[in-house]
């Protein structure tokens, strides 16, 4: 085979490699579809849940296809995001009543879930001494997964989740920053 044939073959093989990765990525995110379906069934606003679910599946598949740090962040990101998702789903069916009337527990549950998710992502990131792309990818997936449940009261739940998540990340980020300085 001459060099032109070989470079054509290399292009074809490269395409096959990318398709192979894509197939594997789609298989990898298939379980997330089950989570999205369950969340949409339980949620009060299924359309928001579905949109966030679609985003989670797409971003997760893209990360798995790309590989490297983002690929390694998929499992910890989704696992961490399940905490605010489950908290919000439970809070959907509870409320507190005071003198002024009743209020939903969705926003506090999302904020609390966000704190736990942030702590979890930071802990895994520090444990693995992961690079910035791991942190960004895991955080994005955790927030998207959590947002499926936190859209319960419009976007205030999602904002609560984001704030909680940011707060949860602070100790881990500080540990990483000062740990790096001391070594």
């Amino acid at each position: 085979m001459d060099s032109t044939d070989l470079s054509q073959l290399q292009r074809r093989v490269r395409w096959a490699y990318e398709l192979g990765r894509l197939r594997r990525a789609l298989l990898g995110v298939a379980p997330v579809l089950v989570i999205v379906a369950v969340a949409a069934c339980v949620a009060h606003r299924p359309m928001s849940t579905l949109w966030f679910g679609l985003a989670t599946v797409s971003v997760g598949a893209a990360m798995l296809w790309y590989g490297r740090d983002p690929q390694k962040a998929v499992l910890p990101g989704i696992a961490a995001g399940l905490v605010p998702l489950v908290f919000a789903m439970c809070a959907n069916h509870m409320h507190t009543c005071g003198a002024d009337g009743c209020s939903s527990l969705c926003v506090p549950a999302c904020a609390l879930g966000g704190v736990v998710a942030g702590l979890a992502v930071a802990s895994v990131g520090n444990q693995r001494k992961a690079g910035p792309w791991f942190w960004v990818s895991a955080s994005a997936l955790a927030l998207l997964t959590g947002a499926m449940g936190c859209a319960c009261l419009g976007y205030s739940g999602v904002v609560g989740l984001g704030l909680g998540f940011g707060a949860g990340m602070v100790p881990g980020l500080l540990r990483r920053a000062f740990g790096e300085k001391s070594t």
Binding site: A16, G20, W65
Partner: protein
């Protein structure tokens, strides 16, 4: 040879992780041996080129599934070997006679192909052994007189065979 194999293992692991920068180098390292294997097995340049191209496509399509704990070359060779067998089987079914002009029945040709395959694998495994082990086994195979005899020869033969079995298992994952 060993260094090249280690390099390929490391590059294949990086490719499995999604590091596209090593793609061209992995392609270069695999193409030569795969093409040569297909020529050896199929004894026909055109068929070998077809099978090698198909094999390269399959190997790199499955690159993400590569098990980093195992050597990459035997894994790739196993896929190429399968591709050559498939092509040979297709030819047998179509009653295409190989270019050597053997007019054999389809079943016979396939048997010969499998035998050739096994011989090539055994020779590759033999190449991994030490000079002394190789000599003992070759002398045994050809029924030649060895430099030692009796119990010493038996012991040596036993050990060499054991090492050959282990090497075969390591390379191809089976006995």
């Amino acid at each position: 040879m060993r260094t090249e194999s280690n390099t390929l293992d490391a590059l294949m692991a990086r490719l499995a992780d999604g590091d596209r920068a090593v793609f061209a180098r992995v392609f270069e390292l695999l193409w030569g041996p795969i093409h040569r294997l297909c020529i050896t097995l199929l004894k026909n340049d055109a068929d070998a080129a077809d099978a090698a191209q198909e094999a390269m496509q399959k190997i790199l399509e499955r690159a993400s599934d590569y098990d980093k704990s195992r050597p990459a070359m035997p894994w790739a060779m196993a896929i190429a070997d399968w591709e050559c067998r498939t092509l040979a089987r297709k030819h047998v079914r179509r009653r295409e006679v190989d270019d050597a002009g053997h007019e054999q029945s389809g079943e016979h040709a396939e048997d010969e192909f499998v035998q050739r395959n096994l011989t090539a694998a055994a020779i590759a495994a033999l190449g991994e052994l030490s000079e002394a082990d190789r000599e003992t086994l070759i002398a045994t195979f050809w029924d030649e007189a060895a430099s030692v005899s009796g119990a010493t020869l038996r012991k040596r033969r036993e050990r060499a065979l054991d090492r050959l079995k282990k090497t075969f298992r390591r390379l191809y994952g089976l006995d």
